[in-house]
Symmetry: C2
Subunit: 416 residues, 2 copies
C-alpha cells in the first residue's frame, strides 16, 4: 500500500476544475463538455501544470526517476479516465435497444463506411502532398478516421436526445467505424513495421465481427430470457454486480481483440438494456457515470501542448488537417444518411466528427514505432481536440431547429 495523497489532490483538482468550467459554460449557454476539455488544457502539464507533474514523494517511489514517475502518473489518469468513458458508454448502451439499432442498420453501416473512406483519403492525400512519407501519411490519415463516440454520446445525453433516430445511427455507425478503424490500424502498423500479414488481418476482422455480433444477438437473448435468475443470488443487489462485471469483462475483451474498450462497454449496456427495468440498472449506474466521466474529458484536454503551435507551419498543417477531418466525416455522415431531411443528416455527420482519445491512441502507436514525427503527433492532438470542441456546440444548434416529439426530446441544455 502506497501513500496516494498526491494523486488524491490531483483528482480533486481535476474534478473541481471540470465542474467549475462546466458550470461557467452552461451559464454561457455552451455545452459543459467543452468547458471540461478546455479546463484540461489549462490545468495540464503543458500550461499551468496543476496536474500531470508527479510530486516529490511520488518520484521517490520510482527511485527518483521523474520521467518514469510521470509515465506512471499518466497510467493512473488513463485508468480513471478509461473507467469514466467505459461507464459512459455502458449507460448509453442501457438506454439502447438492439431492435432500435437494427432498424437503422443500413444507414449506420453506410455512415460508418463512408465516414472512414472520406477522411482517410483526404488526410492521406494532404499529408503526403506536404512531403511526408507514405507510412507517416497513412498513420495520420488513420488517426483521422476513428470517431470518439464518447464525446457525442455525452452531448446527446446532455441534450436529452439519446432516443432520437440520429443518435441510433451515430451509435451504430460508431461500432462499424471502430471495427474498420481497427483493421486499418492493423494494416498501417504492419506497413510501418514492414510486413503485412493478410491471414492475421483476416483473423482480426473475424474476431472483431464475431465478438460484436455474438454479444449483440446471443447476449441480448440470454439477458431477456435468463436475467430473472439473478434474483437468486445471496449477495445484496447481485444484479448490479453482474452488470458491472459484464461491463468490465466485455470492455477488457474488446480491448484484447483490439477494439476500443468502450465498444465492449456499450455492448454490455445493450445486453443489459433487456433486463434494466427489473433491476434499475440505469438508475444505479448513473452516479458512477457522474462521478467518473468528468475525469475523462479533462484528461483528454491535458494532452494538448499549445507551445507546439508557435511554429506557424505546424499550426497551418494542424488547421488544414482539422478542416479535412471535419469535412470528411460530415460528407461521409450526410451521404450515408441521405434520404433524411438535410438538417437531420447534418446531425448525423456532425455527431461523427469528434475524434477525442481514439486519434491520440493511433498517433501514439505510430510515434511508438517511430513512424510519426513529433510535429505530426502534435498535429493529430490538435485535430483530436479541435474536432472534439467544435462538434458539441454545433450539435446543440442543429438540434434546436429539429421538431421532436415532446416525450423523447428536450432542447434545454441544463436538464436532460
Amino acid at each position: 500500500m502506497e501513500d496516494i495523497t498526491s494523486i488524491l489532490v490531483d483528482l480533486f483538482i481535476i474534478f473541481a476544475c471540470a465542474k467549475l468550467a462546466g458550470e461557467i459554460f452552461l451559464r454561457l449557454k455552451q455545452p459543459a463538455i467543452v468547458g471540461e476539455v478546455l479546463a484540461g488544457v489549462v490545468i495540464g502539464p503543458y500550461a499551468l501544470g496543476l496536474i500531470g507533474d508527479p510530486s516529490a514523494d511520488f518520484v521517490t517511489l520510482f527511485n527518483g526517476d521523474e520521467e518514469t514517475a510521470t509515465e506512471a502518473l499518466n497510467v493512473v489518469y488513463d485508468v480513471i479516465a478509461g473507467l469514466g468513458v467505459i461507464i459512459l458508454l455502458f449507460v448509453v448502451g442501457l438506454e439502447t435497444r438492439l431492435s432500435e439499432l437494427m432498424a437503422v442498420r443500413n444507414r449506420a453501416v453506410a455512415v460508418g463506411v463512408l465516414g472512414i473512406i472520406f477522411p482517410w483519403l483526404l488526410g492521406f492525400g494532404f499529408v503526403y502532398a506536404t512531403g511526408q512519407s507514405d507510412v507517416e501519411s497513412a498513420f495520420v490519415a488513420t488517426a483521422m478516421v476513428a470517431t470518439s463516440v464518447g464525446i457525442t454520446a455525452r452531448v446527446l445525453g446532455d441534450l436529452g436526445v439519446m432516443k432520437s433516430e440520429e443518435a441510433r445511427i451515430i451509435l451504430g455507425a460508431a461500432i462499424v467505424d471502430d471495427i474498420l478503424g481497427l483493421l486499418l490500424l492493423a494494416v498501417v502498423v504492419s506497413w510501418g513495421e514492414g510486413d503485412v500479414d493478410v491471414v492475421e488481418l483476416g483473423v482480426t476482422a473475424a474476431l472483431a465481427i464475431t465478438f460484436v455480433v455474438f454479444a449483440a444477438s446471443v447476449g441480448t437473448h440470454v439477458s431477456r430470457r435468463y436475467s430473472i435468475h439473478l434474483e437468486r443470488l445471496h449477495m445484496e443487489n447481485g444484479a448490479f454486480f453482474v452488470a458491472m462485471l459484464l461491463m468490465l469483462g466485455l470492455s477488457a475483451l474488446a480491448g484484447v481483440i483490439g477494439l476500443a474498450a468502450i465498444i465492449g462497454a456499450f455492448l454490455a449496456g445493450l445486453i443489459l438494456a433487456e433486463a434494466d427495468e427489473r433491476f434499475e440498472l440505469e438508475r444505479q449506474s448513473r452516479p458512477i457515470y457522474e462521478f467518473l466521466t468528468p475525469f475523462f474529458f479533462v484528461i483528454i484536454g491535458t494532452q494538448v501542448d499549445v507551445a507546439e503551435f508557435k511554429d506557424p507551419s505546424v499550426l497551418a498543417v494542424a488547421l488544414a488537417v482539422t478542416g479535412l477531418a471535419i469535412v470528411g466525416k460530415l460528407a461521409g455522415g450526410m451521404l450515408g444518411s441521405r434520404g433524411m431531411p438535410i438538417r437531420n443528416a447534418a446531425i448525423v455527420g456532425t455527431g461523427m466528427v469528434p475524434r477525442g482519445e481514439v486519434g491520440l491512441v493511433v498517433a501514439g502507436i505510430g510515434a511508438g514505432i517511430g513512424a510519426v514525427s513529433q510535429d505530426m503527433f502534435a498535429v493529430v492532438v490538435f485535430m483530436s481536440i479541435a474536432t472534439t470542441l467544435v462538434a458539441p456546440p454545433a450539435l446543440s444548434v442543429l438540434f434546436r431547429g429539429v421538431v421532436a416529439p415532446a416525450d423523447s426530446r428536450e432542447t434545454d441544455l441544463a436538464e436532460p
Copy 2:
C-alpha cells in the same frame, strides 16, 4: 493516452473473484468481506499470480523494466482501492450525525486512547524481547496500533447495525486512534531518522486536531444552514457533484496533513449528513460504493506472501504479534467502554481489532527508511490480514446475541 487493456483485465478478475468469493462465504453464513480478502490472497502475485504481474505491453511502457512496471501497476491498484475505501467511509459518514457522535464522545476517546496504549506497549515489549532493535520494535508496535475502520464499517453496514451505539463509539474512537497514530508515527519516523523535533510534532498535532474539529463543527453548521443554495447551480444534480468534490477534497487534505484519507472522507460524509435528505446523497453514493469498495478488500489480500511463513520462527513471531494485537485492542476497547454490558463492550473492542491497510502503510514507511527488516514486514502483513479476517465473524456472532430495537438492527447477514 495509453492502452489500458491489461489493467481492465485485472480489474475484471479482481471484481469477479471478489463477488464469487463473497457469494460463497455468504452461502456458508460467513461475512462476504472475509471471502473478498482471501480471494485477494489466492489470486495475488505471491500465489496464483492472476493479478499483480504487469503484462508484456505494460512493461514496454516502462522501457522493459519489470520492477518499475510492477510498482506502477501497484500504484494503479492502490488508487482504485483507495477510492473504494474513501467512498466507503464517506457513505458511513452520511449515515452518521454529529450529535450522535458527540453523545458517545467520552467513551470514544477512552477507547481510542487505551486502544493505542495497550497494543503499543504489548507489541514493543514483545518484539524488543525477541532481540530486535528499539527502533524496529517501535515501528512494529506502531503498526499494531492503527485500526482500519474501513473493515469494521463494512461489516457493520453488512450487518445493518450502523446506527447502533457501538458503531458510533467505534467510529469516534477510530478518529481519535488515527490522530494519535499519526503522532506516534511521526515520533517513530523521527526516531528512526535520528532526530525528534518537538515543535514539528506539536504543529502536526495542532493541524490534525484543528482539521477534525473544524470540519466536524463548522462544516456541519455550514451544511445545515447553507446547503439549500446548491439548488441554484445550473449543472444537473449539482449537490451530488459538490458532495463528491468535498469527499475528494477532505480526503486529500487529510492525507496532506498526514491523517488517513478515510478520516477526511468520513468527515465529508458527516458534514453532508445534514443535507442528505434533501439531495438523496446516500442513495446516489451507494452504487459507487458497491462498484469500487470490493477492489479495496481484494487488494488488501494481495499483499500477503504466504511463502514468508515457511520459516517456523517467523510464523511463531507473526502469531504472537497477532495475538497481542488482538488482546491489546480488545482490552483497550472493553476498558474504554466499561459501564456497558459486557457483550456490547466486547463488540466495541472487537470492532477496533482489524488493522487492514493502515498497519501496512506504517510498516512500509519503516521498511522504506531501513528500520524494518523483511521478516518483520512479513509479520506486520500477517498481523494486518489476520486481525482483518478474525474480526468480522466475531462481530457477526456477538451482534446475534444482542437484543436490539427492531427499527435500527437486523441480524440477517445478507440483507442490511
